[in-house]
């Protein structure tokens, strides 16, 4: 699923155990090294290295003129990043938690998403907005939102999310290099997930989904935090004779219709898994477009296995809210398998 950059056998780096946080940190470091226009700023990303330590050590290494703590105001952070991008920089800003990107909503939706279009391509905004999202870490209220639906329904934004350290590295580097502004969503509950890896690594192109497990009966579509859940369900399903294919979407906008349709035409059944509430969630787009493109190939409606249509709950109720492998397998049973 991950490919290290081509090297000769001798100098091939030995893979080491890398957390997603570390992979993101390295991606920032390498981007800062490679391009002097890259800047990193936001709340507590300097001395502290970010509340999740993703920017750890960068201020020390690159100095406070490249990596610094801004005043505490998200609209201010994104708004000034826009100005910097207009001046040719490639700012990478952090929204400390997902719900704390909301004060920047107007700047993101009315400017970040639209600048290129309104200037007929004369002004691009190559900026990356990092947003730690989703729950499952026992966070208090407003610390576990999944806001991807907001960004995905906004034309002009590119939205990607890694589910593993290798993609975290590769997608973040590609996002920073992109001429288009990118909403880079980091699944909090996977920050501490480790993989054997040697960096730098280039995984699939940033607009492609990846088949992360092959199967012939059902396609599970997942992204970010739910990829692991989907893989667990596949594992368990296999024990009951169900061959589940799992696709990690990686890019939420654009959506990789090609990869997904190919899988769905093979399995004829699909479900999309996410943490966010179902009503109006990103899964709606997935279900709608995959159905439209593959209607005659489908044996059953596309299921959405998601959080309930309620605000994200407090820690003790999280386990009831979050989609689990069991809930996925239960849901698959609801299909009429005779069809």
């Amino acid at each position: 699923m991950t490919v290290t950059t081509a090297t000769t056998a001798e100098d091939a780096p030995t893979p080491v155990s890398v957390t997603m946080t570390k992979a993101l940190n390295q991606a920032l470091r390498d981007s800062l090294s490679d391009d002097e226009n890259v800047l990193v700023f936001g709340e507590d990303v300097g001395r502290l290295g970010g509340v999740f330590r993703v920017t750890e050590g960068l201020r020390k290494e690159f100095g406070p003129e490249r990596v610094w703590d801004s005043p505490l105001a998200e609209s201010g952070i994104v708004g000034t990043a826009i100005g910097m991008a207009m001046a040719g920089m490639r700012p990478v800003v952090e929204m400390q938690f997902d719900a704390y990107a909301y004060p920047a909503f107007e700047q993101i939706v009315s400017h970040v998403a639209k600048m290129r279009n309104r200037t007929k391509g004369k002004v691009s905004l190559p900026l990356t907005i990092r947003i730690p999202y989703a729950g499952d870490i026992g966070g208090v209220e407003h610390h576990s939102d999944s806001s991807e639906a907001y960004w995905c329904s906004t034309p002009g934004l590119t939205v990607v999310t890694p589910s593993n350290p290798a993609d975290a590295y590769s997608l973040l580097r590609d996002s920073i290099a992109s001429e288009d502004p990118v909403i880079f969503m980091e699944p909090k509950s996977r920050y501490w997930m480790k993989d054997e890896l040697s960096l730098p690594v280039q995984t699939a192109p940033m607009d492609r989904a990846q088949v992360v497990r092959v199967g012939s009966d059902v396609t599970l579509l997942a992204y970010g935090p739910t990829v692991r859940t989907a893989l667990a369900a596949a594992e368990e399903g296999a024990e009951h004779g169900l061959a589940i294919e799992v696709i990690d979407l990686r890019s939420l906008s654009p959506f990789d219709d090609e990869t997904v349709s190919a899988s769905v035409r093979k399995t004829t059944r699909a479900a999309i898994i996410h943490e966010a509430a179902q009503f109006g969630g990103y899964g709606a787009e997935v279900a709608a477009r995959v159905t439209e493109a593959n209607f005659t190939h489908l044996s059953a409606p596309i299921l959405r296995i998601t959080g309930f249509d309620v605000p994200y709950p407090s820690p003790k109720l999280e386990e009831y809210f979050l989609p689990t492998a069991e809930r996925i397998l239960d849901a698959l049973e609801s299909w009429d398998w005779e069809l």
Binding site: E43, D44, G46, R47, L48, G49, V51, W68, D69, S70, P71, L72, A73, S75, G76, A99, Y100, Y102, P103, G138, G139, V140, E141, H142, H143, Q278, F279, F308, D309, V310, P311, P313, S314, P315, K316, L317, Y320, F321, E326, R327, D330
Partner: protein, 370 residues
């Protein structure tokens, strides 16, 4: 001939540079000019002292329990007790308080039961108390948002001709958010009975004040809204109480909002998951210990012979009792009911929620089967 634009007769001056302080760090009168404020009576100070001791014990106990894993997270206001207690005590029962995550101590002062205060941090439910019962809003986590709620509540009270004032806390970091500006402006234009208590503890998590603001002081903001601003030593509860009392009186008299900047220092880490060694020196923390709000008041009260060993012992004992009750409360795990996920989202019932609730209940019933 020059243009003639009517000039508003609103408040227009910058606060005095030296923070207002009655009782110095050494327990002695400071002699700092007090801008018309008067020191609270020794009776009042004794009551405030007792509450501060309780609050400190509470913070220590909860921080300890959090380290033990009994709570998910906890932002302590240790070191800031004078602001929590001083400002909250100045409120009338009918006034409304709009606290933040840092202000559990103000909830305690307001009379909210311990389990209800800690509900959010223990992970039971977002807000554990009935806001209407305690005339206290749920503690706000999205920074500065509550400053607007406090302004709006006060506006409603004003429109209804009710006597209620509102008081809201915010931090130095939160002062940078757009909402803070909007709240100051709305409150002053509408002349709402609102008191903004800005607890300037020098840091927003790791970000030091000088990277948050280039102003000489945050209280200087007030003039730009035609609102009185004042800066007090936030570790001198006499100054905090006096300033808030005066501001509430003005508010009640229809003279509009006030901004009170209280200088203080966060003695603990931001929350238990923070590592303050990354951004501040141990010496700085040491330095601030000498300005401790409780020590100095104790010195003052002992000098004034308002506090003797017997009373002090009583006060400590009652604080220990509180600590015990906190431990007990946190030892029994609160029951949570998964169906409550769906119970309060809407006043008008929804079919999709009912369906989802049924599914969850069926799932739980299956899981419960042997």
């Amino acid at each position: 001939m020059t243009i003639d634009v009517p000039t508003s007769r609103s408040h227009r001056s910058l606060p005095q540079l030296q923070p207002i302080s009655f009782i110095g760090a050494d327990g002695q009168p400071t002699g700092v000019p007090t801008d018309g404020l008067t020191i609270p009576s020794d009776r009042t100070l004794l009551g405030l002292y007792q509450k501060m001791v309780q609050v400190r014990r509470f913070e220590a106990q909860v921080t300890h329990l959090t380290r033990q894993g009994r709570l998910a997270t906890y932002p302590s206001a240790a070191g800031q007790e004078a602001i929590e207690v001083g400002a909250t005590t100045a409120l009338a029962p009918g006034d409304w308080l709009f606290p933040t995550y840092r202000d559990s101590a103000s909830l305690l002062t307001r009379g909210v039961p311990v389990t209800e205060i800690l509900s959010a941090f223990r992970g039971d439910w977002h807000c554990g108390f009935d806001p209407n019962e305690y005339h206290t809003s749920p503690a706000a986590t999205p920074l500065a948002t509550q400053t607007l709620h406090a302004t709006g509540y006060a506006m409603a009270a004003k429109l209804k001709g009710e006597d209620a004032c509102t008081l809201t806390f915010l931090g130095d970091g939160a002062s940078s958010e757009g909402d803070t500006h909007e709240a100051f402006n709305f409150a002053s234009v509408w002349q709402t009975p609102t008191v903004f208590v800005l607890a300037n503890n020098q840091y927003a998590i790791s970000t030091p004040l000088r990277e948050q603001s280039n102003a000489t002081m945050l209280a200087d903001r007030a003039a730009g809204y035609g609102m009185p601003g004042i800066r007090v030593d936030g570790n001198d509860i006499a100054a905090v109480f006096a300033a808030v009392t005066a501001a509430l009186e003005r508010a009640r008299n229809g003279e509009g909002p006030t901004l009170i900047e209280c200088l203080t220092y966060r003695m603990e880490s931001h929350t238990n998951s923070d590592d303050p060694t990354k951004y501040r020196d141990a010496e700085e923390v040491e330095h601030w210990k000498q300005f401790d709000p409780i020590d100095r008041l104790e010195k003052h009260l002992r000098t004034a012979r308002i506090l003797d060993d017997a009373t002090a012992a009583d006060i400590t004992a009652s604080a220990e009792e509180l600590a015990t009750s906190v431990r007990d409360a946190m030892n029994t795990d609160a029951e949570v009911d998964p169906s409550e996920l769906f119970a309060y989202v809407y006043a008008n019932p929804r079919a999709n929620l009912a369906t989802q609730q049924e599914k969850l209940e069926a799932e739980l019933a299956t899981a419960a089967q042997p």
